[in-house]
Amino acid sequence: MKIKKQQLPDKSGHYGEFGGCYAPETLMGLLIDLEKEFQKIKKDKTFQKEFDYYLKEYAGRPTNLYHAKRLSAHLKTLNVYLKREDLLHTGAHKINNTLGQIIVARRMGKTRIIAETGAGQHGVATATAAALFGLKCVIYMGAEDVKRQSLNVVRMKLMGAEVRPVESGSKTLKDAMNEAVRDWVTNVHDTFYIIGSVAGFHPYPVMVRTFQSIIGKEARSQFLAKEKKLPDYLLACVGGGSNAMGLFHAFYNDSSVKMIGVEAAGHGVNTHAHSATLTKGEVGVLHGSKSMLLQDKDGQVQIAHSVAAGLDYPGVGPEHSYYQQSGRAEYVSIDDQEAVAALKLLSRMEGIIPALETSHAIAYLEKLARRVKGKASVIVCLSGRGDKDMNQISKFV
């Protein structure tokens, strides 16, 4: 396919019809300042040096691109490489973004950090970065998620963060985000909101993409070095979509590389319990941007479901909606059972226990293996490790 050179988002944060900045007026001044600061840091060598230092010395970059030989043999038609973001400090890709944002927060003179979290991985990565720089940290987490991801709650508390369970709405990620925004509106003068995905008000989607795009940059050169060519496919799970965008972005102009995002089908996309926003949603506005959204006939946001707390969100980052609409990426879905089976498969085949979120991407490998003609190569973003899911997964073992 032919791909237009990418210059998105535009100045006001739009990706075609998606994106933008739908914020309460109280936040607009700060968001405008943040946009200016973001433009500055993109060219600022001091920022880049500091960010690179922490990614390398603290988080553990670069991560390996591991050739999963036994899994590849099992799948027959696919040559599978795993981008090992699970090996990063705190166990997921989320730390790339929180380190970037906390440096921005400090440059803007903010002394208090807030964040929302679903699976707790972004909460842990935020609490980690806040501890690293000695900043006060408050994490909003749906009461339902506090229960199913209790280990991550302990980790956040150990690092000095205050975890506030959110009892409103569906008590999951979307409600945690509402509550974080309410906190931010109230404490706008000293507080920086570290959003965990390529979602939210402009400039967050592009800022998070920029901090996560290291995943794809590394993977691209590692794959070229090993295979002397580009991969045929990229595969990543999509909740808000930060690990997927992080992997995809560096390959945007490589038109031969096909991108597949895997959403959570929960109990099935034809039930009312899923998180397959791009498969089943309609265009809407939630949490600051226009994107695909799970909503009812009146425009009320529907409650999402997934076995993976990190995918349990009725929206998706606006750039993914744009990728879908323009045909640059394809979005598919995997249900709860398939994800759990994939978690077991990768554990046995490669001795790697993936997070339940990541397991959705792994699960799609078997379907992709049946789709390809001849042989194909694929990079899967192994976005996080499964340690946090052991309580939940124990009943399936």
Partner: protein
């Protein structure tokens, strides 16, 4: 000139300030909302701000969040609220502005909303998560139909931006008295008055102050500098307090009257 403009014109001539009352449509039910609007008019309310509930009201504090949830559980939708206004128009000409979130209007269709709202007798629209920079489609359609578009100015808004917001606003401008979400507070910060006085030097359209106003004393002090005062959460709390009382409407109206009289 629509009903909102006419009201401000008449208030200005009488050198009076506007008292604007917010209630969530459908809490506790649409019939009660209907009766409250009529009773509020008698109690001295100048403009009604009618909340159309949204599942994720991120600019609202706990009182209006809970009220929105109760209204949604009763099946309240934008279509039903438009029908309510239509039926109210056979009995009252009090100005009515709807307050809701971007997705409700976007999902209904901006242009269709303007057309239907106008036909039902709605005078204005207030959307707390829609900044002027994203509102072009709505403001263009609303301007043609003479439906007021009320935008917000916050204590954090720069002068340059405040001018842009004032230009895009019609009916009145909603000044957010505090950095925070909606919800009753006991006092209005001193800085609010300072900033308000400053922006009033270059904004000629009516500026009304809301968020956190719950007492007669606050109504009195704020209406000295503003063109109007908006009370929401304090009224919603009263409605909840009397939810099982058959005299709910008269009791809440009495409370509203005491606030309206303080301006």
């Amino acid at each position: 000139m629509n009903r909102i403009d006419l009201t401000f014109k008449s208030l200005r001539e009488q050198k009076k300030k506007a008292f604007i009352a917010f209630i969530t449509a459908g809490d506790p039910d649409l019939k009660t909302t209907h009766d409250l609007v009529l009773a509020f008019e008698k109690a001295g309310v100048d403009i009604i701000e009618l909340g159309v509930p949204f599942s994720d009201p991120m600019a609202d504090g706990p009182t209006i969040q809970a009220s929105s949830m109760r209204a949604l559980q009763k099946g309240t939708s934008l279509t039903k609220v438009l029908d309510l206004v239509k039926s109210l128009r056979t009995q009252t000409q009090i100005p009515i502005a709807l307050m809701t979130y971007t997705n409700i209007i976007f999902h209904y269709g901006d242009e269709k909303f303007v057309k239907d709202a106008k036909a039902c007798g709605v005078d204005g629209i207030i959307i707390p998560d829609l900044p002027v920079t994203e509102a072009h489609v709505l403001t263009t359609a609303a301007k043609k139909a003479d439906l007021s578009t009320v935008f917000f100015i916050a204590p954090t808004t720069s002068d340059e931006r405040a001018k842009q917001i004032a230009d895009a606003s019609s009916g009145f401008i909603y000044y957010v008295s505090i950095t925070g979400v909606t919800g009753a507070r006991q006092a209005t910060p001193v800085t609010t008055f300072k900033h308000l006085k400053k922006i009033k030097t270059f904004i000629t359209k009516p500026v009304c102050v809301g968020f956190g106003i719950s007492t007669a004393e606050q109504v009195k002090s704020v209406s000295k500098v503003a063109d109007g005062v908006i009370v929401g959460s304090a009224i919603v709390k009263e409605i909840l307090k009397y939810s099982n009382d058959k005299n709910l409407v008269s009791k809440v109206a009495k409370f509203v009257q005491s606030l309206a009289a303080a301006r």
